[in-house]
């Protein structure tokens, strides 16, 4: 019972943070709302019993990636967003479309898939279980994904560096 109340509480924070992220006009407030979303998601994982995923969610998303977001916003000194009036088409078609799509996805997941709802605290989240899955059962996909990320990082470095620096080769004065 206590777990259920906590689960609902963090669920509400998560959704409220996501809405606040869209509503806020200053980028740093939006970034902070996103951190709240990430942190409450981690709390939800923890309540479901997936402790390792919860810890990684906090360290990687809330701790590392969002810090980079915040630093970028601070460095660019991004000001307030300018609001447009919004288009009527988006309100007339977009909002009902999103609602219908969400209902369809939820209905399909609940009734047409074989997945069952996980009771609170029943998820297998032990670090050794996850390690066995990652480094034994799904080793090849895991390693291929890491190479993919490496390629993306190298691409970002090439795109971000100035062309004359690439042509000249590595700097000698280091």
């Amino acid at each position: 019972m206590f777990h259920l109340i906590l689960f609902l509480f963090f669920g509400v924070i998560c959704v409220a943070g996501a809405v606040n992220l869209l509503v806020q006009s200053h980028p740093i407030n939006s970034a902070l709302s996103l951190i709240a979303v990430m942190a409450s998601l981690a709390a939800e994982y923890l309540l479901l019993g997936a402790e390792f995923v919860a810890a990684v969610q906090v360290i990687v998303y809330a701790g590392a990636i969002m810090v980079l977001f915040v630093i970028t916003i601070m460095l660019l000194n991004a000001g307030k967003e300018e609001r447009s009036k919004g288009s009527r088409v988006a309100i007339l078609i977009g909002v009902p479309g999103v609602v219908i799509g969400g209902v369809l996805v939820a209905w399909t997941l609940l009734h047409r898939s074989n997945a069952e709802a996980v009771p609170i605290g029943a998820l297998k989240g032990d670090p050794s279980d996850i390690a066995r899955l990652l480094f034994h059962d799904f080793l090849l996909p895991f390693e291929v994904t890491s190479v993919l990320i490496l390629i993306a990082i190298m691409g970002a470095v090439v795109l971000a560096s100035r062309p004359e620096a690439v042509a000249r080769g590595p700097r000698k004065d280091g």
Partner: protein, 345 residues
């Protein structure tokens, strides 16, 4: 144990641990002032109490009664939230640190630890990684170029050294085969040839220990890595615009982080509460806690000693050292440890 006893014991433990931590924070400041004075051939605080021992209380009273200035140009919500974020995360990190073995008090027994988690180490890393926001937001919301530069330096430095800090711990995890801090300490019991303790620092993780130590100094923004608050360049860095209790909260957060880092170093590399145990039963219960505190004190003293001995790095040296020296060393340490453990298995 019924749920009521569990809740009562947990609340008592939380209060005791936080009280001890805050006292330790206050007296680390006293230690810092005394040792720095000795190093510079001065006396340090002597007026308030014997050996200046009541100086932290006087400082605390002064911080409370100082005028709390809020500049008109700051971004107020975050300016107020930043010191709170810093202090909250600094204090929360202590919750999974074990201080000793199982003890029995009357009919009840408990571990000397607020809570034991099977991902304890990751919890500490997660909480400390959230602490960056306090510093970064303080720098940004002050709306001052020195604060902003200090905040940027602090967050860049903390992200960079968090990588090598995390990787230096992997060797220890491979040796212990667990993420629970209690199990990591239990794995370090016993001795080699009867007299060298089987602590991780003597058990193949010496390089990892020094990588951890250096990264920890950078993580807590202490000299020689105190660029975020370099007085000669940035006035006071990210807390330039803070005064009174808000400034004191940053100060307390810094020292609480130092205590946490010293506790982690003790648990992971110096065998936690392991040490020679002798004497009557009541002493045998307390000896582990004494050894633990002694080792933590050693690290706190080392912090002060290093701060008043070494000069500050230049910023490019700091980044180059983190990414080009510590990171490759940490990765090499993981590979060698993993190979040896696999070969022995």
């Amino acid at each position: 144990m019924s749920i009521t006893t569990f809740v009562i014991i947990s609340i008592i433990k939380s209060f005791v641990v936080v009280a001890v931590l805050l006292t330790a924070v206050a007296y680390s400041v006293w230690l810092e002032r005394k040792v720095s004075a000795r190093i510079q051939n001065r006396w340090g605080p002597t007026r308030v109490g014997p050996f200046g021992l009541l100086q932290p209380l006087a400082d605390g009273a002064k911080f409370i009664f100082k005028e709390d200035l809020t500049q008109p140009h700051v971004y107020k919500p975050l300016y107020i939230a930043a010191p709170i974020i810093s202090l909250v995360f600094a204090i929360t990190a202590i919750s999974v640190i074990p201080f000793g073995n199982w003890v029995n008090i009357g009919p009840w027994g408990t571990y000397l630890q607020i809570t034991d988690l099977n991902i304890g180490l990751l919890v500490v890393l997660g909480i400390t990684s959230m602490g960056v926001y306090g510093v970064a937001l303080a720098g940004w919301s002050s709306n001052n170029k020195y604060s902003l530069l200090g905040g940027l330096r602090a967050s860049a430095q903390m992200i960079s050294y968090e990588v090598s800090l995390g990787l230096s711990l992997v060797g220890v995890l491979i040796m212990a085969g667990s993420l629970s801090l209690r199990e990591i300490v239990d794995a370090q019991g016993g001795t080699f040839w009867g007299f060298i303790p089987r602590w991780n620092i003597f058990h193949g993780q010496t390089v990892a220990f020094f990588i951890y130590l250096i990264s920890a100094y950078a993580e807590t923004n202490r000299t020689p890595f105190d660029l975020p608050e370099a007085e000669s360049e940035l006035v006071a860095g990210y807390h330039t615009e803070y005064s009174a209790m808000k400034f004191a909260m940053f100060f307390m957060a810094e020292y609480a982080n130092m205590v946490t880092v010293a506790c982690l170093a003790t648990l992971l590399f110096l065998g936690g509460w392991h040490g020679p145990i002798f004497g009557p039963p009541i002493l045998q219960d307390l000896m582990p806690v004494f050894w633990f505190c002694l080792k933590v004190f050693f690290f706190m003293f080392l912090y002060v000693w290093v701060r008043w001995t070494l000069p500050r790095f230049r910023y490019d040296q700091l980044m180059a050292f983190g990414w080009k020296v510590l990171l490759p060393l940490a990765v090499a340490n993981i590979v060698v440890t993993a190979l040896i453990v696999a070969w022995r298995a």
